[in-house]
């Protein structure tokens, strides 16, 4: 599909925002808008697929330059393999979100605050992926942030949402400014902001180091790398659920796109130290993110923290790829980068799915707090099934897609001992252990999320009364489930599709999977390691069926219903079930007491006192305390000191002017 057409589609979406504003209040507006977004993102998805195919066929990337933006460079757009891949990632999730919103949007309380900004948000993300010069890139980047900020502020009556929006926009500005610095350095100090020019000109190594630093800060603030993640768990839950899905599942990926574009495409040959740094940050982010998530009992915030974890995993892949590339291990680099990109795709799928599930729960019960849910699997079986699949996928369980990308990442880690640098030799195993830990903790966390919310007995009347969500939402969720399963059992196809992208970035690609027998996935060589999701799924299905028929045939198939056994305790109230906090207690004791300096204090009344016993739990976010509060306090103190100037009288102001004048004259006198 020609790039101009793609741009026209995006423009149509961009225009839809202002156009829908006057009628946003009408009942049909939502349906029309989301329908339009669904159609356009569908077309853009096709465009992405075609673009990827074209890249595979080796045709040169399409270029378009519009007379917009900074006059002397114009606004350049480019559709190459990488852009195409991210177009697919963005628009698949976008289409799903629009489909979901067709149903979910009807429950929206403030449509006027959501409809105008939703298409702008989508358009912004699409433009970032296509932009080919610093100005258009940052313009779209910031447009994406602002639009999503409006969406976060959609329900502004909750002070928490206002605070979320506040923190969010400031962090977004930080990221934009740091990227501005990045491009300033890259483009030889703003002299040529065009990516084509930047590509050819490689900055000297010390400049390049600064570029990497600035880029990691700038992208990290948008993608949510620890310690720049603080806005993410605030902002993502605040938005309407289909927007949360896009922010968590897609916008963070667009940020990753920026990192990949800068580090692998625009910047010159890497140094291994960059890889080590990003690897370390990624490891920390992965573990911290999942630990944060385990401590949450708000469903959407839990999911948001998981986004942090997954971004960490992606960063690990990118860091490894850099390290391999710096040492000339083309295949290793290809493997690690493929793992990262594959995980980008996967996370966009299952994180959107999970947020949709959370949204469905929210509309059905009006609650986000896990401890007010429970037993939803009876009221809303389809949502429960989809959420279960999403949980299994994000917990990296075979044969779903989450496992594949983690498997590839681990394979990349396992060949890292070839790297010559001792720092990497020691760092990579640690990160590998961290990766395994985060996977296991993620499983724990989603057992908690699904188990507390959907299983057990209903803890509130609202949860008791929950009914299945509407068809559109179900369709969206089921489509994502199908995508997760397909990507899980046919990973070879995805890897082959990624091959041109990876070749574009590191010059090598993983072995062509379609040539392997039985659709097996091979990391480097079949002798070394291989995985076949399809065979596994068939195997499991077959043996499960064998077990069912065998045991039903040979033995009884009768079933009696009775009260729960529970070691003979009588029927207890639902309040005696494990809550989110109590579920996390063992892990909290093991990890959080160190990381979050978690403290539990039990207030047990004396016998005869009718007051209920209370367990109070205090967690302290180390990042906020160490990094952010000092900054806030500094600014506040400075403002306090400066604002004393208001009390000066006219004469004192005059004296100030006078003092400056004399000072300057003295300087002049001394100068001559």
């Amino acid at each position: 599909m020609p790039l101009p057409l793609v741009l026209c589609l995006i423009l149509a979406m961009l225009a839809a925002g202002p156009l829908v504003t006057p009628v946003a209040g009408r009942s049909w507006a939502g349906g029309a808008l989301y329908g339009l977004c669904l159609a356009v993102s569908g077309l853009l998805l096709v465009a992405g697929l075609l673009g990827l195919a074209a890249a595979g066929a080796g045709t040169a990337p399409q270029l378009v330059r519009l007379p917009l933006g900074v006059p002397w460079i114009g606004a350049g757009f480019r559709l190459d393999g990488l852009s195409a891949f991210f177009l697919i990632v963005v628009n698949f999730a976008a289409a799903a979100a629009s489909l979901f919103a067709l149903g979910y949007g009807r429950h929206e309380l403030a449509p006027r605050r959501v409809l105008p900004f939703y298409p702008v948000f989508l358009a912004g993300m699409n433009l970032v992926v296509l932009a080919n010069d610093a100005y258009s890139f940052l313009f779209s980047w910031e447009l994406m942030s602002v639009a999503s900020w409006f969406l976060v502020m959609a329900h502004n009556h909750d002070p928490a949402n206002r605070r979320a929006g506040y923190v969010y926009l400031i962090m977004a500005a930080l990221s934009t400014q740091m990227l501005l610095v990045t491009f300033g350095l890259l483009s030889d100090f703003g002299s040529h902001l065009d990516f084509e020019a930047i590509r050819t000109a490689h900055p000297p190594v010390e400049i390049a180091r600064l570029v990497v630093l600035a880029a990691v800060i700038g992208v990290g603030a948008k993608a949510g790398l620890v310690p720049l993640h603080v806005w993410l768990p605030l902002a993502h839950p605040a938005a309407p659920s289909h927007v949360s899905a896009l922010m968590s599942g897609v916008m963070t990926k667009v940020a990753i796109y920026g990192l990949v574009r800068i580090l692998f495409d625009l910047l010159g040959p890497p140094e291994w130290t960059w890889g080590a740094g990003i690897l370390f940050i990624g490891g920390v982010t992965a573990v911290m993110g999942v630990l944060y998530a385990l401590m949450q009992h708000d469903l959407k915030r839990l999911l948001a923290y998981h986004t942090v974890e997954n971004i960490g995993i992606i960063a690990i892949g990118i860091g490894l790829a850099l390290a391999f590339r710096a040492n000339g291990f083309g295949l290793g680099a290809a493997l690690a980068l493929t793992a990262a990109l594959f995980h980008v795709l996967n996370h966009s799928l299952f994180k959107s799915l999970l947020f949709f599930g959370a949204g469905a729960v929210l509309t059905a019960t009006g609650k986000r707090d896990l401890d007010h849910l429970g037993g939803l699997i009876r009221g809303m079986p389809i949502t429960a099934f989809c959420f279960l699949m999403g949980s299994a996928a994000i917990s990296a369980l075979p044969p779903l897609n989450g496992f594949v990308s983690e498997w590839l990442a681990l394979q990349a880690i396992l060949i890292s001992p070839e790297l010559p640098q001792w720092v990497l030799k020691f760092l990579v195993p640690m990160v590998g252990a961290g990766l395994a830990l985060s996977a296991a903790l993620a499983a724990a966390c989603f057992v908690k999320a699904f188990g507390i919310a959907f299983l057990g007995r209903a803890r509130t009347v609202a949860a008791e009364r929950a009914r299945e969500t509407d068809r559109c939402s179900q369709a969206a969720m089921l489509a994502l489930v199908a995508a997760c399963v397909l990507a899980g059992v046919l990973p070879g196809m995805v890897v082959d599709a990624l091959a041109p992208v990876v070749t574009l970035l590191v010059g090598f690609h993983m072995p062509t999977q379609s040539s392997e027998p039985w659709l097996t996935l091979v990391a480097t060589t079949p002798e070394r390691s291989s995985y076949n999701g399809l065979v596994l799924m068939v195997f499991i299905a077959v043996s499960a069926l064998v077990a069912v028929y065998g045991i039903h045939g040979l033995a009884s198939r009768r079933r009696r219903r009775a009260g729960a056994w529970d070691c003979g305790y009588p029927e207890t109230s639902p309040a005696t079930q494990y809550t989110a906090a109590s579920f996390a207690q063992p892990i909290r004791r093991v990890f959080a007491s160190v990381v979050f300096s978690a403290r539990e204090s039990v207030d047990m009344p004396v016998p005869g006192d009718l007051r209920p016993a209370r367990l109070t739990l205090t967690l302290r976010d180390p990042v906020w305390a160490v990094l952010y509060r000092p900054v806030v306090e500094t600014v506040d103190t400075a403002a306090g000191m400066v604002s004393r100037a208001r009390t000066l009288s006219i004469r004192q102001h005059l004296s100030l002017v006078y003092a400056v004048l004399i000072l300057l004259l003295v300087v002049l006198a001394l100068w001559q």
Binding site: N156, L169, V181, G190, H653, V657
Partner: protein, 493 residues
């Protein structure tokens, strides 16, 4: 009177000449007419009409420039500024019609004062046009002096103690600034007279710029110090800024818009004129560090002041100081790109900030107070105002798709080359400023609605017009403007 005499000795009958004549004579005639003839009814309409005429005249100047003359001239730098100034003066006059009417109805001013206000408005426009058109540095000085005096009279128009105090402060600081600027002008004349000979030529800017190479560097240095402090006072650079917040807060809002949108801009423009002269002389000490220092100081000071404000007009007044600081910083850094960015930033800021003040004016009249804590939740109670203000604030905070984003983008990316560390300070400042503005926005627009809600008629046209322009500028700039600014930027050194 000098201006008129200059005018009559001026050009001979082409469109440009006619346009310039209109630009200067129009406001002057209107002002005198209004002062003499009592015409309360039509005063506002007259005001708007006259400013519209001057705007059209300015448009004429865009494609037909008058021949050079030693009193008045039109070149790449001021042609754009004139168009901008006349445009904003037109929109503000539209706005002030409704505003003054409302003030009169609520009895804050009487008919006479209203007419006096319009007359002063016209004379202010005359002064600004003269300052922009002047080729003679003395004329520039006279014009800015006149502008200050009229502005002072308008700031004090409410006659409340606070208003008087603000006007008084403005007057004292303003006149000291004027005095410094005059001394600087005299020194420049000295420098020029010894090079090009005595007489009027030695005061014509076009002559100065061509002969600057032979001027005495010492005199130029000292002169620039005085001129920078003098005109910097008008531009509201810290520490000469003290008048600005009070004048903005206590004066009528249309004047606030004009002060922030035009007067401080024009003053900075005059500083640029002299900077160009210095740039043309290789022996002078570079003025860059001076402007960088003042600019950075102004920016940081203003940003920190943003946090403790409880008066909405004062808040945005400090933001104006901040942006003047940014522009001065850019010019101080120098280089074609940074200068271009600075010029663009001046234009964008004046458009955006006046839009914001239009919104603020409506809000203050609707809410009956300027106290921020009393203004909450406009998003629900007054959607147009609330969202207009929100968009304006986002624009001024440098968010796309508005023009300030582009100018700040260029400022940062260009200044990063010359002074990376200072630019990092600038970036930090920008983020902190966003924090401060957003903090207010959260309450004013998104907070829980409450408080009074008075009736206020009057069109939102100016607000919308400005926002649309800033939006368009953020998407793409008109090529001729770019060409002019690039040429000027090269001259600015």
């Amino acid at each position: 009177m000098t201006a008129l005499e200059a005018l009559f000795r001026a050009f001979t009958g082409d469109f440009g000449t006619a346009a310039v004549t209109v630009l200067l004579a129009g406001p002057l005639v209107t002002a005198t007419a209004m002062l003499l003839v009592p015409a309360h009814r039509v005063a506002a309409a007259l005001n708007a009409g006259s400013t519209l005429v001057s705007f059209l005249a300015a448009l004429v100047l865009l494609w037909d420039r008058p021949p050079l003359n030693i009193y008045l001239h039109v070149d790449d730098l001021n042609v754009a500024m004139i168009a901008l100034t006349t445009f904003i003066s037109f929109t503000s006059s539209l706005f002030s019609g409704g505003y003054v009417e409302h003030e009169r109805r609520t009895g804050r001013i009487n008919r006479r004062t209203g007419q006096f206000y319009h007359a002063m408005y016209q004379s202010l426009m005359f002064a600004l046009n003269l300052a922009l058109l002047a080729n003679n540095i003395g004329l520039m000085w006279v014009a800015i002096e006149l502008a200050t005096l009229t502005a002072v009279l308008m700031v004090g128009i409410y006659r409340t103690p606070a208003a008087l105090e603000a006007a008084w402060k403005y007057f004292i600081l303003g006149s000291v600034g004027v005095a410094l600027a005059l001394f600087g002008t005299i020194l420049v004349y000295f420098a020029a007279a010894s090079a090009v000979g005595d007489g009027m030529e030695a005061m014509a800017w076009t002559v100065l710029i061509t002969h600057a190479g032979w001027f005495d560097p010492t005199l130029l240095d000292i002169a620039f110090v005085f001129l920078l402090l003098g005109y910097g006072t008008k531009a509201g650079l810290v520490p000469m800024h003290a008048w600005l917040p009070d004048a903005h807060a206590e004066g009528p809002t249309p004047i606030t818009a004009v002060l922030s949108g035009l007067l401080i801009n024009v003053s900075l423009y005059l500083i640029l004129r002299f900077k160009m002269v210095l740039a043309a002389n290789p022996h002078v000490l570079p003025p860059g560090p001076l402007m960088v220092g003042l600019g950075l100081l102004s920016m940081l000071f203003a940003i920190l002041m943003l946090y403790r404000q409880r008066d909405i007009k004062r808040l945005f007044a400090y933001s104006s100081i901040e942006h003047m600081g940014i522009a001065a910083f850019a010019f101080g850094i120098g280089g074609p790109l940074a200068n271009f960015a600075g010029l663009l930033h001046m234009v964008m800021h004046s458009l955006t900030k006046s839009a914001i003040f239009f919104a603020v004016g409506h809000i203050v009249q609707v809410k009956g107070t300027q106290q921020l804590p009393a203004i909450r939740g406009l998003g629900e109670s007054h959607p147009v105002l609330g969202w207009g203000l929100a968009l304006g604030v986002l624009a001024i905070a440098g968010m796309p798709p508005f023009g300030v984003f582009m100018s700040e983008f260029l400022v940062v990316s260009a200044c990063f080359a010359r002074a990376p560390l200072l630019t990092l300070v600038l970036i930090a400042g920008l983020i902190v400023a966003l924090g401060a503005l957003l903090l207010r926005l959260n309450e004013v627009v998104f907070g829980e609605a409450g408080g009074a809600s008075l009736r206020r008629d009057g069109s939102y046209l100016p607000l919308v017009l400005h926002l649309l322009l800033v939006l368009a500028a953020g998407l793409c700039l008109p090529p001729p403007l770019v060409a002019w600014f690039q040429h000027v930027a090269a001259q600015l050194g």
